[in-house]
Amino acid sequence: MTATQPAPSNRRTSRRTEILDSRPVNLDGFVEEWPEKGLVAMESDFDPRPSVRVEDGRIVELDGRARAEFDFMDTFIADHAIDVATTEASMAIPSDEIARMLIDPGVSRRDVLAVTRGLTPAKILDVVKLMNVVEIMQGMQKMRARRTPANQGHSTSARDNPIQVAADAAEGALRGFAELETTLGVVRYAPLVAIALQVGAQVGRGGVLTQCALEEATELELGMRGITAYAETISIYGTESVFVDGDDTPWSKAFLASAYASRGIKMRFTSGTGSEVQMGNAEGKSMLYLEIRCILMAKGAGVQGLQNGSISCIGVPGAMPGGIRAVAAENLVASMVDLECASGNDQSFSHSAMRRTARLMPQLLPGTDFVCSGYSGVPNADNMFAGSNFDTDDYDDWNTFQRDLQVDGGLRHVREDVILQVREKAARALQALFEYLDLPPITDAEVEAAVYANSSNDYPLRDVLADLKGAQSVMDRGVTGLDLVKGLEATGFTDVAENLLTVLRQRVSGDLLQTSAILTPAFVPLSAINDANDYAGPGTGYRLQGERWEELKKLRHVTSATNPETEVS
């Protein structure tokens, strides 16, 4: 860090102050609120008061603004996100009553949804403002769409090395990620890295879904070709001015969403608190109010889910009083309007390991559809999303949290021999597939490196020029997911080919378009339809027990009760 320290004063300081001052948390940045400009997490006098008025089946007033004064966000939300039939009744319910419904195990998720679908952004804000962080977690436990929580991982490489991406994806899939995401340093590498991610994922655990974050057109093309399985990085914003700066509107984003749906491809939008004020266009509204507008915009566009939890702007709410509570609240809001929620925890957040952990608790403890979106399945130095809140160094800590608190964060401990085996298989499968597709060769030395590597520094350097030509040829030749299946089959990786083919077949059935859909190891889509969250108080809903709990009891070093001179793992 090249940051300058605060100017030293001449006054003598205590030894204790010196120690405290040198703690990592004091490398983080904290700022005062400035609500007039929107630099405030969720409690601002400048946010609008809730109101709604319906005339002739049309919302003519939204949160104190008449239709004539609507900006395009208001228009989109009023016309597409709010249920006109029920809105006046829902809005008439006092906010504290709705807040209580959210935490009351006696009120079903379905009953809550009947109310929330008629709420305006300001009303939703008014409701969650009443809730402390424990109540927010209780609400999340009930409102999460899918009953079974899950996790998402990142698999990237600082050198865009496809072998590394494949090996780390395989390990990540084996450790439990239900979705894997990659992105690039050099964008032209994308086709090779996306292929590597897909192959690695299907080696690690059949049915894991993959995506490659790129500019929108290429991301869509890779999806349509079946090289990736879903999409997530379609960003939306809470003010008209930020949307316009990005040459976009809610309608253009909705159009893109329907392009994915037309091919049976799972997709979700991305938004988060702090993005508008970060760009200087918060229009004087609190971060959470603007995020609630995003959430309703996503709802109105008809997408099944949203990645939120501040995401790449986490440093902004993170520096504000109550900021992490607001981040927990935005996750809850996504869930309480029946969207899948991939709940952040996916960016470098703090210099302090304790603070990183504390920031995770509101998502880990109640469980969300994806606790991280995602967890870095590579060392943070290799993370091309600019680092995540957790990385490979933290795998054992994460597994220990799960065991200590008996909560399911979607991961598990896996023995090293098993890990080495899938890493090798992933590298071998990619080696064979590259040869089949006439792509630049992967040497045995690279495969060997992939088995034992930690970071991109542990791999032989690739011939980048040849790789980029190969990547271009993948696009030029029109290589599709089916070509990958054929290649894997032809080179003897029949099981991997079948895994991938089964994932691709979901395009036809469209089951992955359902809210919160993931695939089980048996390729059964698990979504809010067939795995609906039925939490109704103690003893109900998702419980970490049985085989899965036995699995999570395992750690790297656990002393055997049978023979205390040995360890089990």
Binding site: E435, D438, V464, L465, L468
Partner: protein
């Protein structure tokens, strides 16, 4: 014999080409189409079968024919050579005792010559200093330019005779602009702390656009430092090293020196024609090539163990071992091409990261391999297609037959195939006999020469420089091509090419990261091509020409990927013109350009003598 459908397949290093033809009972050939696929696996290995089968299927599909109708597939016997590359610098410049600084900073300050004793700026205002003698001030890192100027001004006001300054930072213009007395200032001397203190030194800065006159002249140095003839002889390398610089510093130390020494690169041992000839590598490329010519045909080449050339050839053999699986001891090098080149290298003992242009020798070497397994490829192709398949002929012989289909060509005809690793030539004599040779050195060596002479770290850039013409982006709306013509564009050019020398690739403009001008880059590119392709074209043709006489050749046809290059065919034609040869790029069947010569040659050979 009835009418038969046959496919000729040419497996090359990177592409596999197919040619489909109908051969009539009378041996008349009707060409039906061609196809091009990526080669699968290393050329000459059974993995080639996949690419060959794919090419056959495609050419059949294009002509609307089925595998069932196919009579036979004819494969080429691959050129039995593999090539490797190595490069070593053979000179080295060393400065001892920090005798001189000659790194040519972009912006020195002031002008003129200052001769005095070196004094650190920190001691300039101290007590006990000797204010009588002229002083050259040495300024370490961390001094702000305003502070330096203020200190020098105040020293001068105190009566110190400051005549020049040497700075660590890039501050020379800033400092001289603030001085009351104009002095020459040399800056960006990274290791300024190594400048010896209390020594007599001279600093010279020439006006913009000029070069220094005194310190680059041996007698100038003798005058400045009052040297006797013996000492003058000793400092003459310093003067030479500073020639062409705009600024320089020379420090007189008791035994300081600048040497330009030859690195003992070792001896190259050439065995052939029953002789073993030895040549010192540092004698240069010409000497090596002369010696090589005396040992033709070469059986093997060795480098003296423990020397640079020993290492170079060991490196080549290692690569061959990786590719062929043959043990290094069984690998015989049958040809080498040595090329003199210049490599910018940091000077040892330099204080400012001085770079000297050192001499280097690049060696391309070529190995014969007996491991071509084309018959195995043919067997596999036959099995997959259910038709017959065989090896129809040797590559060079087939290429020259194919070349004969180029309009305007007649026997005797020679072909030159400019590849990546080797340059191949073959001759079809008037009586129908063919001779084929392979010589070391081709496209990859050109790329390497371009990369090292321009100090490009990125092979992709060097490859682009080799392949495409250059331009210079002069504004966002116009660029100047290397031939001097100017092109205007409607949309502004992208910022990353602004003011840069660029390569005009089909994918757009790619900047060349270099301080060299467009002309310099162009010169390096053309020289590299001339030294490899033109030299090798002549060398290879001499080996196939009757009695080595180029005048005995009438037609020379260029084939292969390099024949599509924008300037190589012209350069080779120019090189061959004095020998009265018609030389040009092939046009197989009058339609295929320089491609598909081997594949159609296979068909023609079959038509003459159906197997």
């Amino acid at each position: 014999m009835d009418t038969r459908l046959v496919v000729g397949v040419d497996v090359g290093n990177s592409t596999t080409e197919a040619c489909l033809a109908r051969v009539g009972p009378d041996g008349a050939v009707t060409y039906l189409g061609t196809a091009l696929k990526h080669t699968t696996g290393v050329k000459g290995t059974p993995e080639n079968a996949d690419g060959a089968v794919a090419a056959v299927r495609e050419v059949l599909a294009r002509a609307g024919a089925t595998v069932g109708e196919l009579h036979t597939v004819l494969l080429n016997e691959a050129t039995p050579v593999i090539s490797g590359l190595a490069m070593e610098t053979i000179t080295e410049t060393i400065i001892t005792e920090s005798t001189m600084i000659g790194h040519n900073p972009a912006t020195p300050g002031g002008e003129g010559l200052g001769v005095g004793v070196t004094v650190p700026i920190g001691e300039l205002l101290g007590d006990g200093r000797d204010s009588e003698r002229p002083v050259i001030v040495v300024v370490p890192h961390g001094w702000d330019f305003d502070d330096v100027a203020a200190t020098l001004n105040s020293a001068v006001r105190d009566g110190v005779d400051v005549v020049a300054a040497v700075l660590a930072g890039d501050d020379a213009v800033l400092v001289t602009n603030r001085l009351e007395k104009r002095i020459p200032v040399v800056d960006e001397v990274a290791a300024v702390e190594k400048v010896p203190v209390g020594m007599l030194a001279a600093v010279e800065v020439a006006p913009p656009g000029r070069t220094i006159r005194t310190l680059s002249n041996s007698y100038g140095l003798a005058t400045v430092f009052a040297l006797d003839p013996a000492q003058t002889r000793q400092v003459s390398p310093v003067a030479r090293a500073l020639t062409g610089n705009r600024s320089a510093v020379v420090i007189r130390t008791p035994t300081g020196d600048v040497t330009d020494r030859l690195i003992p690169a070792g001896v190259l041992e050439l065995r052939g024609a029953g002789k073993t000839l030895r040549v010192e590598v540092d004698a240069g490329a010409d000497a090596i090539m002369d010696t090589l010519a005396r040992a033709q045909p070469v059986d093997d080449v060795h480098g003296e163990p423990g020397t640079h050339v020993g290492g170079m050839l060991a490196q080549v053999r290692d690569t061959m071992t990786d590719v062929t699986g043959q043990p290094a001891s069984e690998i015989a090098i049958h040809d080498v091409l040595a090329v003199d080149t210049i490599v910018p290298a940091e000077v040892r003992g330099g204080l400012a990261g001085e770079v000297a242009l050192e001499h280097a020798v690049a060696l391309a070497a070529m190995v014969s391999t007996d491991r071509s397994r084309m018959q195995a490829v043919a067997d596999q192709v036959a099995a997959e297609l259910g038709s017959s398949a065989g090896v129809g002929g040797v590559e060079g012989a087939m290429a020259v037959r194919g070349a004969l289909t180029t309009p305007g060509v007649d026997r005797p005809v020679a072909v030159i195939d400019l590849g990546g690793g080797s340059t191949d030539a073959a001759l079809l004599s008037a009586s129908g006999e063919t001779t084929a040779v392979h010589v070391a050195g081709a496209g990859e060596l050109v790329t390497k020469l371009i990369a090292s002479e321009l100090a490009l770290d990125d092979r992709e850039v060097a490859e682009n420089v080799k392949r495409y013409p250059l331009g210079k982006v002069e504004s966002f709306y116009h660029l100047r091509h290397e031939d001097g013509t100017v092109e205007f564009v409607d949309e502004p050019l992208p910022p990353h090419v602004f003011a840069r020398v660029v390569v005009m690739t089909p994918d757009g403009l790619v900047p060349v990261p270099t301080r060299h001008t467009l002309d310099a880059v162009r010169r390096v590119r053309r020289e590299a091509k001339r030294r490899v392709f033109c030299v090798n074209a002549v060398r290879a043709l001499r080996q196939v020409a009757p009695q080595g006489n180029l005048r005995a050749l009438d037609f020379v046809v260029l084939l292969g990927g390099s024949a599509l290059d924008f300037e190589i065919p012209d350069m080779i034609a120019d090189a061959l013109a004095p020998h009265g040869i018609v030389c040009g790029t092939g046009n197989i069947h009058g339609s295929e350009g320089p491609r598909n010569a081997v594949a159609s040659g296979l068909v023609d050979a079959y038509a003459e003598e159906p197997g």
